[in-house]
């Protein structure tokens, strides 16, 4: 199986240009001045392009999938948080008490948590997979990427397959919008490394303070990112993911490709999911066009990744939590953009005079 990522990945249809044209024509007839809904109109076009139809379906069953995994590099002094917090937060997700749960409930989105590589036992977790918690632990956390490869190519591919499976299962279960989420103490480090490596930037460009680190920790983290970028030079996309990435990032890359293949909008969150989107784009060029940037994280690599992906985020509120929190906040805006195309009256319908 090693090196077979490309063969297991589904085909992603190109965006529908005819649906974009139909959206523009319809927007021009709605009871509003041309362009007055700004980026909501562009978002409506994107939704049509993804679905291949105008008006696009209004997402009524959004699901945020939170992929959780641990990182050996967390023990190399890049974060003040103990590694067991990953498992504890997964328990918090299962119990419904984390930010992503609260925000998802607020917008009517379901949350599914996927253990793709948590290092520790998850307190109180169900022994078997359930509708909202899936056990797909590829390994109990990656190795420390500052000392050598984080995982094998085989493991990276297995994690990609987990994400693909989750996306397929959710879509076949009725999900009409997939939002990306993650949990993994230390995971801004592999994310910064992947983004720097893929976009040709440096550790200094891409390394941020994550959940809050001091100057000495930031300097250590930046060095680790630079060393990872150097080591990844010349590797192919899957090898790079295995060498300097993470299990939840690999799963998210598969999840994003699976969502795009299923023609549902895929909403990106912060820097970890953006790293995964860059990985996904490197594995299946064209996938990024099926993604919607939910928000702009304060992590510097987030903006670098957004620019590389050609995406402009919907929400910009200085969030840096991850979990999927920023992406979930964007869901009502996506529903709004689809709703405008579906439900607004035209000038003719409403008997309104034009300018």
């Amino acid at each position: 199986l090693v090196g077979q990522a490309d063969h297991m990945l589904p085909t992603v249809a190109p965006l529908s240009q005819s649906a974009i044209e139909a959206a523009r024509e319809r927007q021009s007839r709605l009871t509003k001045p041309p362009g007055a809904l700004g980026r909501l109109e562009l978002l409506g076009e994107t939704l049509c392009a993804i679905a291949g139809v105008c008006p696009p379906p209004i997402p009524r069953h959004p699901v945020v999938a939170v992929f959780a995994a641990d990182h050996g590099v967390a023990l190399a002094g890049v974060t003040p948080w103990p590694q067991e917090v990953t498992a504890q937060m997964v328990a918090n997700f299962i119990a419904g008490g984390a930010a992503v749960n609260v925000l998802a409930r607020g917008v009517g989105a379901d949350v599914i948590v996927v253990d793709v590589g948590v290092a520790n036992e998850i307190p109180g977790a169900p022994a078997e997979s359930t509708a909202s918690f899936r056990r797909h632990r590829v390994r109990a956390g990656t190795a420390d990427l500052s000392c050598g490869p984080a995982m094998t190519v085989y493991e990276a591919e297995a994690a990609i397959a987990v994400g693909l499976d989750v996306a397929r299962d959710l879509i076949s279960g009725g999900a009409d919008l997939l939002a990306t989420g993650e949990m993994g103490i230390g995971n801004t480090t592999p994310s910064a490394a992947l983004i720097a490596s893929i976009t040709g930037r440096t550790g200094a460009d891409c390394t941020g303070r994550g959940t809050g680190i001091d100057d000495a920790t930031l300097a250590r983290k930046t060095e680790i990112v630079d060393a990872a970028v150097t080591r990844a030079a010349g590797l192919n996309a899957t090898e790079r993911l295995a060498d300097i990435g993470g299990l939840e990032i690999a799963a998210l890359a598969g999840f994003i490709i699976g969502g795009a293949a299923g023609r549902v909008p895929v909403v990106l969150d912060g820097v970890i999911t953006l790293a995964a989107a860059l990985v996904a784009e490197s594995l299946r060029p064209g996938v990024a066009a099926h993604c919607i940037a939910g928000h702009r994280s304060t992590e510097p690599a987030a903006t670098i990744a957004l620019d590389a992906l050609g995406l402009v985020p919907l929400v910009d509120l200085g969030l840096r939590l991850g979990e999927g929190s920023g992406g979930v906040l964007a869901i009502p805006l996506i529903q709004a953009a689809a709703g405008v195309l579906t439900n607004m009256a035209t000038f003719d319908d409403a008997g309104v005079s034009e300018a």
Copy 2:
């Protein structure tokens, strides 16, 4: 009654500092790194400060009130839209086909339309006020402010009283968030004039292209704004509103004060509602602190007004439609901020280790 605006206005309680402190303390115990929810945390503090309690109520019954009126200045060549569009759009609001209706339905908000001064008959409108349409026409549109006072002080006060009444009625009926909306062909001109006059800026600073005007129209509009600012110099707040304002702007000022007095969050929309907020603040200093800026309109005077009000908008998607559309889009973010304070687990609750 003339000149009595100050006496008819209710008292607005100051923001609760103790509720802000309580919010900060609670945020620090929630299962997230400190500050990781960015401006959502500040918004949560504001909601606590407005309600005077922590956690704040999660707004479950938001209502957007769309105040509609006509403007004599619309006939002075400041807009390409015929004046009858105001009445036609009110009919569209009543029928539920306008952007604000679609967006409000999407977020579970009710829409109420208030005719405070439409010039023409509203096609198909109910003969009497209903739950979602109120007839409070103070006069059939203002006079042309480019030739003289738009209305009398008595009329401005009557329109303020309409807004106060609507806010009181909605709050007593269970509304727990008031969003501001408006319709009035030509109403960016009085809005720009009021904003320029109140903030000490020029016509060139404050005049924008509204729903879309050419260079010659923009030049004419800018001249009219400058002349209005000159004429309003030395007038008191109510006189200025009467001289260069509009009936829906006056009603919105009353509505904003009524919402603040009732201790519910008041969500502002674009440049017209921001002009009304500045008027409200000039009538009742302290009111602006009870307002939440829903979005940043592309109109230049919107940003000038936001800065003068000390408000930072939640959504910035290049909208310039009005009706309340941008404010409505912010409602889920406000619910999210309240939801975080109410429903997120603390580190202790969830058994999560701290950094």
